[in-house]
């Protein structure tokens, strides 16, 4: 990775002005934004702002072209077969809800089965809870083994003619595990089920090819891949989008509206009701182009190397326990420290300028499997390097010292 890459991200220089450098290790929650993306958004508002699609004047046509060019860029980024396979959403969460509501609510019946996994983010759990409540569909789970990997045998044991959906996370936001989604999609299709991949943590971090994976749907969030907040995407096989009922109703997504009925525009428009996040899409295109220029293969290698290094370095510290698979980890390193709560770890690190996340990481069922209430999580991205790991490790050692177990003191009555 270029050693000056931090300079692409204005926040680092701005934060340093406040006294200490920012060691940002929470990129799995959201990444920082390169100037290129920030400027693309500003430029959009300063030069091209207009509503899209229905405009009949030049400015609106420019805005529409910018918006649609972003669709093309996202399609290229994940190798979708066509731009029209990309639906813009707010984030991965909305993408997954779109599938659950538009496909699930209209296609699932009592007794149908939806297979998820032990390591899903709440965004791939709660929508199915809601839909199963409405439809009577049953949820099942692919089990995780002791090396924090999915046990495909438990999928094979559970999948069958009642299985209508298999939906799994590509890369776990807690463990960094890269799941064998290609194989999972193959098994889903063999059983006649649709296959959904939550790509929130893969799209930003590695080359992704949705056709190679063979999924029917793939969800991603712009803000986790150097893009703006408020813009995400859902990839879907176009024929599926054509057969699906719409999700949100409103402007842009219709063909004809009568007082009590309506018929719908072609996908992807059918799924984009109302004025979209145009500036967000413009910024997402800039983010995609930025990441392509860095090179996704390079991003992946850099992260895995840093993740491996950090896991090794932290494991040397007494009391630290790492939750990361032995072979297929990424730049996500979750850990706990004996006698120090993750939230306290985070405060200790914060006082040294190190931003990590502590909590359940929107994966409470996984926390229960790991038999912890929460973990601390350092997640690395392109702007991190080994020196960040060193700061992290030594700040951690300091904190552990502070929390060393002590006898009942006499300061309290």
């Amino acid at each position: 990775m270029r050693s000056d890459i931090k300079n692409d991200f204005p926040i680092f220089a701005n934060w340093r002005e406040k006294g200490k450098p920012l060691i940002y290790l929470d990129s799995a929650a959201t990444t920082q934004k390169p100037a290129r993306v920030i400027d693309a958004v500003s430029e959009y508002y300063s030069r091209y702002n207009a509503n899209v699609h229905r405009g009949t004047y030049e400015l609106s046509q420019l805005a529409t072209d910018l918006y649609e060019n972003s669709r093309t860029a996202v399609a290229r980024f994940i190798n979708a077969e066509r731009a029209e396979s990309i639906v813009f959403t707010r984030n991965a969460t909305e993408s997954l809800n779109l599938i659950a509501y538009a496909w699930g609510l209209n296609n699932l019946k009592k007794g149908d089965e939806v297979i998820l996994s032990d390591m899903e983010h709440h965004s791939n759990l709660v929508p199915w809870h809601i839909i199963s409540r409405h439809t009577g569909a049953v949820l099942k789970f692919i089990r995780m083994n002791s090396d924090f990997q999915l046990d495909l045998q438990s999928l094979k044991d559970n999948i069958g003619p009642r299985t209508k959906v298999v939906s799994v996370v590509h890369v776990s936001n807690v463990l960094g595990t890269i799941n064998p989604v290609k194989e999972i999609c193959r098994l889903a299709h063999e059983a006649g089920a649709i296959a959904i991949v939550d790509g929130a943590q893969s799209a930003p971090h590695m080359p992704v090819d949705v056709r190679e994976i063979g999924c029917d749907f793939y969800a991603l969030s712009g803000h986790k891949m150097c893009g703006p907040t408020g813009i995400g995407a859902l990839y879907a096989r176009y024929e599926l989008l054509e057969r699906m009922e719409p999700f949100l109703g409103g402007g842009e997504m219709i063909n004809e509206v009568f007082p009590t009925t309506s018929n719908y525009a072609k996908p992807p428009y059918k799924f984009e009701a109302g004025t979209p996040n145009i500036a967000g899409a413009v910024g997402l295109k800039a983010a995609v182009e930025y990441l392509e220029a860095v090179g996704l293969k390079e991003v992946e290698e850099h992260e895995i190397a840093l993740g491996d290094y950090a896991a090794r370095r932290l494991a040397e510290i007494e009391g630290v326990r790492i939750f990361r698979p032995k072979t297929t980890g990424t730049g996500v390193v979750s850990f706990t420290v004996e006698n120090v709560h993750p939230h306290d770890i985070s405060t200790i690190l914060d006082s040294e300028g190190v931003a990590i996340r502590a909590g359940h990481h929107c994966a409470q069922p996984l926390m229960r499997k790991l038999q912890v209430q929460s973990t601390a999580r350092a997640s690395f991205y392109i702007y991190n390097d080994k020196s960040d790991v060193e700061v992290l490790a030594s700040a951690l050692e300091k904190g552990i010292a502070l929390f060393r177990p002590r006898k009942k003191a006499d300061v309290t009555k």
Binding site: G359, F403, T412
Partner: protein, 150 residues
């Protein structure tokens, strides 16, 4: 903004050796609170006798600040009326949010949480126990049936 302002000896002591830990079998009031931002989970139960908090206990799991604060709270409210406890809660919120004022004797060990005011992310941890106590008092269904039947 030194860590020692936050993780004082008293806090660490309450954290590592919490007071009044556990639950009252037939509490007059009880409630459970979550800190959505970090997963802290606290259960508070209270026994009222003759209008006075005769016993207060807490259980749960969480960070040093949430657990120590709950531990200190249970010490403090014992022997007080519900009104007094609520007044103390409100004084406590003021203190950890950094509202100017004199916080003296009546705060007991809670005074050691004054440093939280300099760590805005931790305010929710410090107030979790107190909010849960107030929620217990406020529950629409009034005192738990256990009191009713006693």
């Amino acid at each position: 903004m030194s860590l020692n302002d936050l993780f004082t000896e008293i806090i660490l002591d309450h954290y590592q050796h919490p007071h009044n830990h556990g639950l009252i079998p037939n509490p007059t009031y009880s409630s459970r609170g979550f800190n959505e931002s970090c997963g802290d989970d606290v259960q508070v139960s209270v026994l009222i006798k003759n209008g006075i908090i005769a016993d207060a206990r807490f259980s749960g799991a969480g960070c040093s600040i949430s657990q120590a604060s709950a531990s200190i709270m249970t010490d403090l409210v014992k022997g007080k009326s519900i009104e007094e406890a609520k007044k103390l809660a409100s004084r406590f919120y003021d203190m950890v949010k950094g509202t100017e004022g004199e916080y003296g004797e009546e705060m007991g060990d809670a005074i050691s949480l004054q440093g939280v005011a300099k760590f805005p992310v931790r305010v929710k941890c410090a107030t979790l126990g107190w909010h849960t106590l107030e929620e217990a008092f406020a529950k629409n269904d009034g005192p738990n049936s256990s009191e009713e039947t006693k």
